[in-house]
C-alpha cells in the first residue's frame, strides 16, 4: 500500500530468485482505498494470499474470520523470531491470545522539536514529564509573537489525546471493550491536559487540512514542537533548509511523571484463510521479516523495522533522529483491539474538538464521548452475550 507497495516490488525479484517456482504478484493500492478494497475482496471471495494490514485493522479482519492463525508457523520459523520483536508492537497482532500477523514496520509517535528554540528558553534537552514539558512550552511562548505557538497538534488527529490517555494509565474502554471508559479519572486527567494546551494558547486549534506547509511553519519558527511519526524524519531532512539541519531533533514523548508511552502503530503482514498457497505465502512473509531485508526496506522507505536485530545495524544506530524512536519503541502500547476502534478513535477527536473550541466543557465532552462509544459498541455487547466475538 502507498509507497510501501512500490518498494516491495523491488524486494520481490531477490525472493523469486532464491525461491524458484514461486511467482509473486504485487498489487498496489493507496492507503485511503485499501481498507475498503480488502473488505470488498473478502465479500467477493477474492482476498489475496497475504496483505499488509494497518495493525489496528487486524481485529476487524479477525472478526470477519478472514485471517489464518500464525502461532504454529511462528514457533517453527527460523526467520520470524518472536523474542526479537518489540513486545508492544508484537502484541498488536494478538487477538484473544492468538497471533494473526507479523509486524512489518513500526509507527509510533515522538516529538520533533526545534532544539535552538528550546535552548533559547533555557533547555538543553526535551523535558520528560508533563509538568516540565508544559513549563518549557510556556517559556517558549513567552518569547514568541501572538501567532506563533510552541506546539502543533492538529485537532483532527486522534493519536495525541489517545496517547496522553494511555500515558495517564487509561484503558480507554472498560469491561472487555463493552463500554467507553473515557470518563474514568485517568483519561479525564489526560483530556484536561490536552484541552488545556489549546485553551492556554500553547497550541493552535487547527485541523489537519488547514496546515498547508508544516515545514515552512517549522522553518520560520512559527511552531517549535510537533508530535508525529517516523516518516517525518525523511521529510524534515529533505524539506528543511541546510542551515536548520542541526537545529531540530526528535525526543521520546514526556509522560505523567517520567518518560511516557506512545502508540504501537505500524503495519503487519497477514495470511488470509482463503489462500490456496499458504506455504509459499508464509515463505514470502519469512523472507520479508529477515533483518537484512527489513533494513533494505528501511533504506527504501524510511519505515522503521520492528526487530531489535535490524536496529543494531549502523544505518539505524547512527541515525540521530531515529534514536528517539528506538527508545520510544520499548514503551509502546496498543489501542484496544476491538473492530470498532477506528470509529471510536474519530469520536475521540470529534469530542476533543468541541472541547478545544470551547463549545463543551471537558466533562460534557467526555460524557458525550462515552455515550457515543457505548452506542458504537452495542452490537459488540450483544454478540458477546451470544459468545460470538473474541475478547481483547
Amino acid at each position: 500500500m502507498g509507497r510501501e507497495g512500490e518498494v516491495v516490488s523491488e524486494l520481490i525479484p531477490d525472493f523469486e530468485r532464491s525461491h524458484p517456482g514461486i511467482k509473486v504478484e504485487v498489487q498496489q493500492i493507496p492507503w485511503s482505498a485499501a481498507h475498503e478494497k480488502l473488505l470488498t475482496a473478502y465479500v467477493g471471495d477474492a482476498t489475496p494470499d497475504i496483505a499488509m494490514l494497518g495493525n489496528t485493522w487486524v481485529p476487524e479482519f479477525v472478526a470477519l474470520n478472514a485471517l489464518e492463525p500464525l502461532d504454529a508457523r511462528v514457533a517453527k520459523s527460523a526467520d520470524v523470531k518472536r523474542d526479537d520483536y518489540f513486545p508492544g508492537i508484537w502484541s498488536t497482532n494478538l487477538v484473544d491470545g492468538v497471533t494473526y500477523g507479523v509486524p512489518w514496520y513500526v509507527d509510533t509517535r515522538v516529538i520533533f522539536y526545534r532544539s535552538d528554540l528550546l535552548a533559547q528558553a533555557g533547555y538543553d534537552r526535551m523535558p520528560t514529564t508533563w509538568a516540565a514539558w508544559r513549563e518549557a512550552m510556556q517559556k517558549i511562548k513567552a518569547r514568541m509573537t501572538a501567532r506563533q505557538y510552541p506546539l502543533l497538534i492538529p485537532i483532527t488527529e486522534w493519536p495525541p489525546p489517545v496517547i496522553l490517555g494511555l500515558q495517564a494509565g487509561s484503558s480507554l474502554l472498560r469491561d472487555d471493550g463493552r463500554y467507553g471508559g473515557f470518563r474514568d479519572p485517568p483519561f479525564r486527567k489526560a483530556f484536561d491536559f490536552y484541552v488545556g494546551l489549546f485553551r492556554d494558547g500553547l497550541a493552535p486549534a487547527l485541523s489537519g487540512t488547514e496546515i498547508s506547509n508544516l515545514y515552512q511553519e517549522f522553518e520560520r519558527g512559527n511552531i517549535a514542537m510537533y508530535i508525529s511519526g517516523p516518516w517525518q524524519i525523511g521529510e524534515f531532512t529533505n524539506r528543511l533548509p541546510k542551515e536548520l539541519q542541526d537545529k531540530w531533533m526528535t525526543a521520546p514523548l514526556p509522560g505523567v511523571d517520567g518518560p511516557g508511552v506512545s502508540l504501537a502503530g505500524g503495519a503487519s503482514l497477514s495470511l488470509f484463510r482463503a489462500s490456496a498457497h499458504k506455504e509459499e505465502a508464509w515463505e514470502l512473509m519469512e523472507y520479508l521479516s529477515r533483518p537484512e531485508v527489513q533494513l533494505r526496506f528501511y533504506q527504501l522507505t524510511g519505515d522503521l523495522p520492528p526487530r531489535r536485530e535490524a536496529w543494531r545495524d549502523t544505518a539505524l544506530a547512527n541515525n540521530r533522529y531515529a534514536k528517539a524512536f528506538h527508545e520510544q519503541l520499548d514503551r509502546v502500547v496498543p489501542t484496544p483491539q476491538v473492530p470498532e476502534w477506528e470509529q471510536i478513535a474519530t469520536k475521540v477527536f470529534e469530542h476533543g474538538e468541541k472541547a478545544v473550541r470551547g463549545q463543551r466543557s471537558v466533562d460534557q465532552a467526555l460524557a458525550a464521548l462515552d455515550r457515543d462509544v457505548d452506542g458504537i459498541l452495542e452490537k459488540r455487547r450483544y454478540l458477546m452475550t451470544q459468545r460470538k466475538v473474541a475478547r481483547p
Partner: protein, 299 residues
Amino acid sequence: MSTRRLRMPAEAGTAAWFFLAPALLLIGVFFFLPVAAALLLSVTDFDLYGIASPGNTRFIGLRNYTRLLNTPDFWTALRNTFYFAFVGGPLTIAAALGAALLLSSKLVRFKGFFRTVYFTPFVTTLVAVAIVWRYLYHTRYGLFNFGLAKLGIGPIDWLGDPHWAMPAIILMAVWKGFGYNMLIFIAGLQSIPEELYDAAEIDGAGPFRRFFNITLPMLAPTLVFVAVITMIGYFQLFAEPYVMTQGGPLRSTTSVVLLMYEEGFRWWRMGYAAAIAFVLFLVILLATLVQFRLQKERA
C-alpha cells in the same frame, strides 16, 4: 381518437410490452431490485459482523430510523444540507440567470468566448477544483484573504471556522455549477419571441417591467426545471466537503450523503446507512412535490 384507442387490438398491447421489455428489465434489475434490497437492509443491523456471518444480523424493525432521528449528527447533517441547498441553490440560479441575460443582451460582444469561459468550471473535475480552492481559501497564504487584507478586512479562517466553512463551500459550488444552468437559461431566453419585447417597448415599458412581465413569466417552465434539478443535485452534496473539509470543522460541512458514506463505507454499518438513504430520498421527494405544487398554484 379516444374511441379508436379503446378498441386497440390485444396484440398491440403485447407488442408494446415486448418493445418495453428490455428497458423495463434493465430498470428492474439495476434499479428497483437494489432499491428493494436497500429497503430491506434498512430494517436490519447488517454491518461488519453481518458480513462475517449472516447469523450476526438482527431484524430490528424501525430502530435504525428512530436511532437516526435521535442522533444529533443526523440533524446537523440535515441542517447543513438544507443550508447548502436553500442558500446555494437560489444563488446558483440567480448567477446563472444574470449571466444568461448578460450573454443574451445585444450589447455584449464575444458571446461565444464568454459562454465558454462561464461553462468551463462546470466541466472541470471537481476534485482538482476543490484542491485549488483550498489554496485560495488558505488563511495565511490564500488569494481571498490577500484581497481582503488589501481592503483592510482581517484574515478569515475560511475552511477552519465553523461559521465560514459552509459559505466557502457554497461559493465554490456556485462558481462551479452556474455555467450549466446558464446554458439552459440562454436556450429558454432564445425561445421568447422578440415581438413581445418590441411591443412592450412601444407601450413604454422599461427594462425592469420587461424583465418581470415578459422574461420571467415566459421563462417560468425553464426556471422550474432548473430549480428542481439544481435542488435535487444540491441535496446530494458530497464531493465538495469530502475533498475540502472532510465534513469539518465541527461537522459544520457534513452533508447527509457524506454521513451516509461514512456510516456505510467507512464503518460498514450498511443497515444504518440504508436508512439514511431512504430518509434523504423522502426529503428530496417532498421538496420536489412542494416545488411542483407551488408552480401549479402560480400557473
